[in-house]
C-alpha cells in the first residue's frame, strides 16, 4: 500500500518540467533534425505517437489491480532500472556539461555535480510527494521564465533572414525525427511509474491528451524561437536555448537574460534528477536506504567519469544500446504489458 500520493495535476506538472528540461534546456545535445522544415511535422508526429504509446497504460490503469501486475513484472522492472540509470547519468552529465561550458566556466565540475547529487538524493528519499510539491511550487516561475525568453526572442528576431526551407518537409524524415525525439523523452517511463501514486484516476486519458496538446504548442514555440533567432546557424550552436537568452536585446537595457535561463535550468534539473533517483529506488525495490545510497554513489562516479571524458559520453549517449533500451521502454513496453495482462485474464478464465 502506497501512502505517498500525488494528484493528477502534480503528475502533469512533473511531466511538463521533464518536457521543459529535455526539450528546451537540453535540446542542443540531442541531434534533432532542427535545421530543416521536418522539425515542425516531427513535433506533431511525436505528440501523436506519445499519446498512442501512453494509451495502453491509461487503459490498464483504469483497472487498478493490473497496474500492480506491471509493477511486479521483474523483466520490465529490470529494463526500467537500466533505462532510468542511463537517463539519470545522461541528464546529470548534460547538466554538468552545460554548467561547465556556459554559466560557470571557471568552476570545478566536481563542485557542481556533487552538491546537486546530494540534494536530489535527499529529496528522493523524502518521497514523491515532496518532489511533486516542489515541482508545483516551481512550475509558475519556470513557465514565466520560459515564456519570457520565447516571447522576447520573437520580438528580437530579424524575420528577413529566415531560411527559405523552414517550411519544407518530407514525411519519412519527419517520422524518423519524431521517433528520435520520443526516444529522448522519458515521459512514458515516468508516467508508468507514477500512475500507482495517483490519488484520482478519473479521465486520466483526456487529461493526458490536453497535456499533450499544450506540450506540443510549447515545443513548436521553442523550435520557432530557435529558428527566428538562428536560422540554419542553429546546427553550429551547442546550447541554442542558452544562446537565445544571451542574444535577447530589447532596446539597450533589456538584455542578458542568462540569469533567467540559469534559474530555470537549475531548478528544473533538480526536480528531474530527484525524480529519476526516486523512480530508480522504486524499481530497485529495496527497503534499506544504504543499498540505494551505495548505488547512487556508483552513479555519481559514472557521472563524473563521463563528465571528464566528453567524447566517450557523446559516443555513449548516442550509442545503439541506449537507443534500443529507450525504444523498448517507450514503444514495446506498453503493448507487451497489454498482451501480458490479456493473457493473464485468459488464463484465469
Amino acid at each position: 500500500m502506497i501512502n505517498n500520493k500525488i494528484s493528477s495535476i502534480q503528475l502533469f506538472i512533473i511531466l511538463f518540467i521533464c518536457r521543459i528540461i529535455s526539450f528546451a534546456i537540453n535540446m542542443p545535445q540531442n541531434k534533432y533534425p532542427i535545421y530543416s522544415g521536418n522539425i515542425w511535422l516531427s513535433v506533431v508526429i511525436k505528440s501523436i505517437l506519445s499519446f498512442i504509446v501512453i494509451m495502453p497504460y491509461v487503459i490498464i490503469f483504469s483497472k487498478q489491480k493490473y497496474i500492480d501486475n506491471i509493477q511486479k513484472n521483474n523483466a520490465l522492472n529490470f529494463i526500467l532500472f537500466i533505462y532510468l540509470m542511463l537517463k539519470l547519468i545522461i541528464t546529470s552529465v548534460q547538466f554538468s556539461n552545460l554548467a561547465g561550458d556556459t554559466v560557470l566556466p571557471r568552476m570545478s565540475i566536481l563542485f557542481i555535480i556533487i552538491p546537486i547529487c546530494i540534494f536530489t538524493l535527499y529529496a528522493s528519499i523524502k518521497g514523491i510527494e515532496t518532489i511533486a510539491r516542489m515541482a508545483q511550487f516551481l512550475i509558475p516561475f519556470m513557465i514565466f521564465g520560459v515564456l519570457i525568453i520565447i516571447i522576447l526572442s520573437y520580438i528580437n528576431a530579424d524575420y528577413s533572414t529566415l531560411p527559405d526551407d523552414a517550411m519544407k518537409f518530407t514525411f519519412k524524415e519527419s517520422f524518423f525525427g519524431a521517433c528520435y525525439m520520443l526516444s529522448n523523452n522519458y515521459e512514458a517511463a515516468v508516467f508508468l511509474l507514477l500512475l500507482p501514486y495517483l490519488k484520482d484516476n478519473k479521465k486520466i486519458g483526456i487529461k493526458y491528451l490536453k497535456f499533450n496538446i499544450v506540450s506540443c504548442i510549447f515545443d513548436i514555440s521553442v523550435i520557432g524561437a530557435m529558428f527566428v533567432t538562428f536560422g540554419k546557424y542553429i546546427v553550429n550552436v551547442s546550447y541554442p536555448f542558452f544562446s537565445i537568452a544571451r542574444n535577447i536585446k530589447i532596446t539597450k537595457f533589456f538584455e542578458r537574460l542568462e540569469s533567467i535561463y540559469l534559474a530555470l535550468w537549475i531548478l528544473g534539473t533538480f526536480v528531474v534528477i530527484a525524480l529519476m533517483y526516486y523512480l530508480l529506488k522504486n524499481t530497485l525495490k529495496v527497503k534499506s536506504n544504504k543499498i540505494y545510497i551505495f548505488l547512487s554513489g556508483v552513479l555519481i562516479a559514472l557521472t563524473l567519469y563521463f563528465t571528464f571524458s566528453k567524447s566517450i559520453f557523446a559516443a555513449f549517449s548516442q550509442s545503439l544500446f541506449v537507443f534500443s533500451i529507450s525504444i523498448i521502454i517507450i514503444f514495446a513496453a506498453p503493448f507487451l504489458s497489454m498482451i501480458q495482462i490479456h493473457e493473464r485474464r485468459n488464463n484465469k478464465k
Partner: protein, 363 residues
C-alpha cells in the same frame, strides 16, 4: 543527518568565499585585476601574427570613465588575448564589449575563421556589431598619443547605434554574419570606418563582400539601393528634385517600406526577378511646392519612384552584374544563377501620406 548538513554548509561557506584566484574550487578573479573591454580591434600582420587591440574602461572619480588601450600579438586571436593578460597583468573581461573592428586586410583575406573565437568564447557576445576599418587597426583604434583615438571604438559604436534610428547605417552583428554564412542568403555588407584628418571617427560607407572576402567599399548613398530590397530603409531621408523647378529640392522621410522579390525560373535557372516595392513617405522639407495638391503629389511620387529605381539599378549594375556579388540575395532562388545576365523588373508603388505639421508652404 543534521550534523552532516551542518558540516556541508560550513564547508560551502569556507570554500565559496568571494574572489580569490588561489581557491582550488572557484577560479575567480579580483575585480581590480580585470579589464572591462569596450572595443576590440583585430588585424593580421604579413607574417601571419594577429595583433589584438582592446579599449579598456578605466573608472574614475565622480562617475567619469577614461579609456585605455591594451594590445598584444599572438599566433591566434586567443593567444593574443592571453598575451594581453600577461603583458598588462589584467584579465580582459569581454562581456561588455561594444564593437568588433576588423582591419581591411583581414576583411580582404576572409573573415570567417577570424570570427570563430568570438562565437566560442563564453564572455564574448554575438550581438556585438562588427565593422571594417580602412587601413590598419593600429592607426584607427590605438593611436595612444592622441586623446580622441582612445575613444574610437566607443564612438564608432555610438555612430552605428544612433544611425540605426534614422537608417543612416546598417548595423551587422556577429550573429548576423554567422547566419549569413550558414544560409548562403546574400553577400555581406559591413560598415566601413575611417579616421578623418582631424582624428574624428566617421563611417565612410560599407565594405562589400563576396563570400567571406571584402572586394570593394561603397559610399553610404551608393548602398541605399540594397536597403530597399532588404526592407531596412524605413526612417531614411531621401532628397528628390522638385518636379516644377530643377533648382529646388524636396526632402522626404520613408515611413515604411515592404519589398517582395518574385523569381522567374525557366528550365531550372533564374532568368528574371520581379521586385515589387510598396512604400509610404512623408514630406519633411519642401521649399516651393504644396504637398497637398493632388497633381503635385502624383508628380512627387513619380519622381520618388524613379529615384528608388535608379538607386537599385545602380547597385545591381555595379555589384551584381559587374562584380558578380549576390548583394540582393537572389541566389537563394537558384544557387547557380547567372547574376551578370539576370533581368530585374522593378515595380514601385509609393504613397505620399503627409506633410508634417505644416499644410502649406510658408510664404
Amino acid at each position: 543527518m543534521k550534523k552532516t548538513l551542518c558540516i556541508l554548509v560550513s564547508m560551502f561557506c569556507i570554500t565559496m568565499q568571494g574572489c580569490s584566484h588561489n581557491n582550488i574550487l572557484l577560479q575567480s578573479y579580483d575585480i581590480k585585476k580585470m579589464a572591462v573591454i569596450s572595443g576590440i580591434g583585430i588585424e593580421q600582420t604579413q607574417s601571419g601574427m594577429y595583433n589584438v587591440y582592446m579599449q579598456v574602461y578605466v573608472p574614475k572619480e565622480q562617475d567619469n570613465m577614461d579609456i585605455n588601450i591594451m594590445y598584444a600579438s599572438g599566433r591566434s586571436i586567443a593567444e593574443a588575448v592571453k598575451n594581453i593578460s600577461l603583458k598588462y597583468n589584467k584579465q580582459p573581461y569581454l562581456s561588455h564589449n561594444k564593437i568588433l573592428i576588423l582591419s581591411e586586410d583581414i576583411a580582404k583575406m576572409g573573415i570567417k575563421r577570424h570570427l570563430d573565437y568570438i562565437g566560442r568564447d563564453i564572455e564574448m557576445r554575438e550581438s556585438v556589431p562588427v565593422a571594417v576599418c580602412k587601413g590598419n587597426v593600429k592607426n584607427f583604434i590605438a593611436a595612444e598619443n592622441e586623446e580622441t583615438a582612445k575613444y574610437s571604438g566607443k564612438k564608432a559604436n555610438d555612430i552605428i547605434d544612433v544611425s540605426n534610428f534614422n537608417s543612416g547605417v546598417y548595423s551587422v552583428s556577429v550573429l548576423d554574419i554567422y547566419k549569413n554564412f550558414s544560409d548562403d542568403s546574400a553577400d555581406l555588407i559591413l560598415p566601413y570606418l575611417i579616421r578623418e584628418k582631424n582624428d574624428e571617427v566617421e563611417i565612410e560607407g560599407y565594405a562589400v563582400f563576396r563570400g567571406e572576402k571584402m572586394i570593394d567599399s561603397a559610399s553610404l548613398n551608393e548602398m541605399q539601393g540594397v536597403f530597399w530590397i532588404k526592407n531596412k530603409i524605413a526612417g531614411n531621408v531621401e532628397v528628390i528634385g522638385n518636379p516644377n523647378n530643377i533648382n529646388e529640392n524636396i526632402s522626404v522621410k520613408i515611413k515604411n517600406s515592404h519589398c517582395t522579390a518574385v523569381p522567374e525560373i525557366i528550365n531550372g535557372s533564374l532568368k528574371k526577378v520581379d521586385i515589387n516595392i510598396k512604400t509610404e513617405f512623408n514630406v519633411v522639407e519642401s521649399g516651393c511646392i504644396d504637398p497637398l495638391d493632388n497633381n503635385q503629389v502624383r508628380q512627387i511620387e513619380e519622381k520618388f519612384n524613379k529615384k528608388i529605381k535608379k538607386r537599385i539599378l545602380f547597385v545591381a549594375d555595379k555589384y551584381m552584374k559587374n562584380k558578380d556579388t549576390d548583394i540582393f540575395g537572389f541566389k537563394k532562388f537558384d544557387k547557380n544563377a547567372d547574376l551578370k545576365n539576370l533581368k530585374l523588373n522593378i515595380n514601385i508603388r509609393s504613397n505620399l501620406s503627409g506633410s508634417g505639421l505644416l499644410k502649406n508652404n510658408v510664404e
